[in-house]
Amino acid sequence: MSRFFKAGSDSESETESSEDDEIIQQRPSAAPVQSRTFQFSDDEDDSRRIVRSAKDKRFDEMTNIIQQMKNHKQIKDMANVLNDFEALIKAADKAKKVIQEEGVPRFFIRCLFDLEEYANECWEDKEWRKSISKNNSKSFTSLRQKLKKYIREKYEKEVNDYKENPDQGDDDKRDETPAPQDEESEDEVDTSVKAPVKPKLPAPPVIKKQLPKSMDDDDDDDDDIDWDSSDDSVESDIDDEQFDTGKLTAEYFLKKSDSGTSKKEKKRKEPKQMKLEETDEEGDWEEVKGGAPLIMERPKMFGKDQEINVDAVLKKLYEITSARGKKGTDRNEQIELLKELREIAETNNLGLGIDVKLYFNIIGAIFDYNPNTLTSMRNDVWESCLSYLQTLLNILIDHPEVNVGEHIKEDDENLTEAPLYVRGCFLTLVEKMDEEFTKMLQSCDAHSTEYVERLQDERQVCDILEKTLRYLEIKGTTLEISRIYLKRIEHLYYKFDTSCVYTGDNEPKKEGTSEQTMDKLCKFLYTSETPDRLRTRAILCHIYHHALHNRWFQARDLMLMSHLQDNIGHSDIPTQLLYNRTLVQLGLCAFRQGNIRDAHNALVDIQSSNRAKELLAQGLLPNRQNERTPEQEKIEKRRLFPYHMHINLELLECVYLVSAMLLEIPFMAAHEMDVRRRMISKNFHHVMKMSERQTLIGPPESMREHVVAASKSMKTGDWKACKNFIINDKMNAKVWDLFFQPDKVRDMITVKIQEESLRTYLFTYSNVYDTLSLHTLAEMFELDMSVVHRIISKMIINEELMASLAEPTQTVIMHRTEPSRLQSLALQLSDKFLTLVENNERILEVKQGIYPFQNKRDRNDRQPGTSAAFQHHTQGEGYGPPTSKSVTNNQHWNRRNNKNYSRESRNY
């Protein structure tokens, strides 16, 4: 009940200031909602409260600040008042949205008004002003200025209003204003209500001002922001609407322009002009107009009777291009305009120079088309871009008299006469195109037909690259040639060319293979004066290409000669990624060639971190430790290689694991009893451990399980099972068939497995044999006698196997000199006891002289005693000389150490 009453009174109070009768009738529904709903309190139902929570929060914040400000005002603490005022402005800014919806809160206006009054009062009080501290007075002046400016800028209207009837605010301060119970009706009357509701708001003047100035100014945001944007966006919405729909008729404004706002308008004009001088924010005004009208007047590029010559076209060109990058510029329109301009120029036969220049500009505009660097071009745009590039390139090639380059200054351009000079760098455009191409591929789904379609453009891209290369070889500088060479290399290195793989026969070398091209391009880059980065990349690509085509020795030598592994950490990230790719390819090549250790060494770094995907830039991995910021993710995404350049990760892992297996299993068998077990490959151990942890081990499914199963059978020397686990239909389909000439690789792996199994077998079971026939071994492992002989001889030489070969009988005779497991354990134990005793004595050294600790002595004696007793037992087991030696060693040790410690203890 009280709501309606209040709503009534509310409307009444505003009647005074408003003019139109019909508007008054509609106002009760709309105006209060806008102005005072923020004061809703207890008796409103819950649902409504929830809806308003954001607003309440903002307004509470503001009222709090105002309350504080009041307190500070009372004690005339100007510095704090200034702070509060600034906080209030900030809060108001934050609440902008709410204010736009709900209207300017009354209390806010009142506060502004009070503050102004207060400031004026204080200003009058000269006595006080003299008495205050410097800091305070400084704050005060700045407060006064800021306040004035703020009110003038944003809320002049409301404050003036408030000045006229200040009590009203006080009256309904605690009032419950009606809820927007009639939202439907509000919709209906939306425009008709809202515009008149704020007759004192500057809406009409704004429109009026804009009208004469520019009908075509399609975004008036700038104007609004100047003086009333925070005021009410509803209003500017209306403006927009009116512009769009063409409702903006003269009578619409005439109606209101007589409503007494003219005075205010004048007032407002003054500050605005002042501001134009003061601030340069509004400088944009004129410039926007410069670009925009052109677009509007597009149909007639030149006046009918205007003479079209080079200068005119150039002038127009500058006009168009000067709009580039401006906020309101329609980029599509710009491209169209430029195209048209070019056509006009062409029809008027203005010559090649202008044509080239316009082409440059068009292509530039096309690259500009996409404001976002992350998203890729649209297909049609891309295609047109390619065609334009090609045309321009053809022109440049056909007309060698045209000189282009970035070094040519605008002023030096010569567009008409024979040696033409045009500013613009074709190479840059080509590079940019290449970048765009990569971006487009990145944005497609790699498994869609779209990707294939895009990939088909690669031909064209390469075509352009090649042509440019030929063109630049004639005209370009060394640096330019290097750049285009590198681009060419980067499009070449990862492509597999079957014609350059030698099958081993002495067939004549074919001409024109990618190998030769690479060779030529790279060698140029190596020899010429190019920046390091280009050279590094060229070397990496060259190595990659070598490795891809099984030229292991060339690839390895180049890698070693380049010394890249030492300083690659200092290069930029894309180059590091390329390095990773190259290293991986090198590893794969080594594997194919049977150089297992090299393969393992090349791959270990990439594989050990479990981040191969990330290191090769083939996808992003979820980062567990710290979430990356969106920007970081964007950057990382941009670095990713397109799908067709990827290296198969499963293949990579499999190759790594198989090489690790071939190295690690014999190693483990040989060093089973070592104290500290070193491992060759942590990753391999991890995989093995994971499988051991499983409660139930079924038949292998994945590649990894296959390798694990193979490793297990290899441990027992069962090479056939091992081979069957590594080479079978599943693994062929998953891994081995991905290689070029997979049969060769498979044969190599089989031989390696046989050899390493033999070694493992000898390591593991040699202690069971007294003699071993080479024939039996050769049969067991289906190897040649000579191979078995070779392997065993090598093991004997390396002292891995304590045995000797008896040639006449073709047998291996075991020497049985290596300690048994128990013996080696005992040896380890005695070592440990030694360190223990050593440490114990050290404690004694420290203790000596500080305070007596007799019990310590006892224990010290006892422990070596137990170990001696233990050693006695092991002696009984047939464990002779080493113990007694170790005992004597022990004493010897202690004596020596004692000396050392006494020296050390002196240092303490």
């Binding site: 497991r821 354990l825 006891f833 019990n855 092991t874």
Partner: protein, 329 residues
């Protein structure tokens, strides 16, 4: 309570056959063949100078997520039920299985202390399932020595306290002899069974495969030695720090004295005394209990190895003579 305390301490433990069987059963069923530890409660009575253990029940195994499980309540409930069926229900200790004699550690000491604190005569039975499978039933009864009880009750494991109590690793536990006793009925039943079952394999204790056992023991021993070394290192570091601090303190004091002497010459008042402990905070020396325990464990391993080796040697000699006999025949 007072009367009980005056009684002579338990001289030996008399185990009922039932207890042994239950223990073995529990370990076999739940201990995964000896690798997992199982624990349970011993019930019985003190008669004269012997502790008769006549019954036992296992602690139920419960997973980590059953947090609401109340062990104490379970025990009380169990004992009440046993009393209802008129079985001995007096708590006299607990039992635990062990893996290669690894049992001397902190938790065991703590719980045994708690047991002995509340029930003076309680013991812990250590059962070694692996030895049992080899043909030697291995059940040993331990309790903490009075000295250890006193030492533990102070809960101060610093070097000074150890010295004060004269505590060494071999003085922590005392072993009580265990006697297994069956009722006559059971004995006669066993005799009966023995007659019937003649082909029973009673010779698994003649197993000659010594090395695997020794290897395992050695590995355990090595782990223990490593732990001791680490502990000693820690202690050593601490000692060095203390040394350094002492030196710094000495220097500070000397300087103070000199200053004061100078001042006295000049007739000025001496510098005010400052709290030395504030300037040099006394360093905490690391607790030494772990070290004691490790030493005890090492000792235990060594004894085990030594007894095992002795037996193995005997077996080897026997095998040798058998071999020679076979050859000569």
């Amino acid at each position: 309570m007072a009367t009980r305390k005056q009684r002579a301490p338990v001289q030996y433990v008399q185990l009922d056959g039932l207890v042994v069987l239950k223990l073995i059963k529990h370990c076999q069923e739940e201990g995964a063949g000896g690798t997992d530890l199982v624990q349970g409660v011993l019930l019985g009575l003190v008669v004269d100078n012997r502790l008769e253990i006549t019954n036992c029940f296992p602690f139920p195994r419960h997973s980590e997520d059953q947090e609401d499980f109340n062990e104490v309540q379970y025990q009380m409930e169990m004992m009440r039920n046993l009393r209802h069926v008129n079985i001995d229900h007096l708590h006299v200790g607990w039992y635990q299985s062990t893996y290669f004699g690894t049992f001397i550690n902190r938790p065991l000491i703590d719980s045994q202390y708690n047991y002995q604190d509340s029930i003076e005569e309680s013991v812990v039975l250590i059962y070694d399932p692996l030895k049992t499978t080899q043909g030697f039933l291995s059940v040993k009864a331990y309790r903490l020595t009075p000295a250890m009880m006193k030492f533990h009750s102070e809960n101060d494991f610093t070097t000074e306290n150890i010295t004060k109590h004269g505590m060494t690793f071999d003085k922590m536990f005392e072993e009580i002899p265990v006697v297994t006793k069956n009722s006559h009925l059971v004995n006669s039943l066993l005799c009966n069974l023995e007659e019937k079952d003649k082909e029973a394999d009673k010779f698994n204790f003649l197993d000659l495969a010594t090395s695997s056992m020794l290897q395992k023991n050695l590995r355990q021993l090595m782990e223990c030695v490593d732990a001791t070394t680490m502990d000693i290192n820690k202690y050593l570091n601490c000692q060095r720090q203390i040394m350094r601090q002492q030196q710094a303190k000495q220097q500070y004091l000397q300087k103070r004295q000199q200053d004061n002497a100078m001042r006295a010459q000049r007739g000025e008042p001496p510098l005010p005394e400052e709290d030395l402990n504030k300037l040099f905070k006394p360093l905490q020396s690391p607790p030494r209990l772990d070290c004691l325990l490790y030493s005890g464990q090492i000792d235990n391993y060594c004894q085990q190895i030594s007894s095992f080796s002795t037996q193995s040697l005997g077996k080897l000699f026997m095998a040798e003579s058998l071999q020679n006999d076979g050859q000569s025949n």
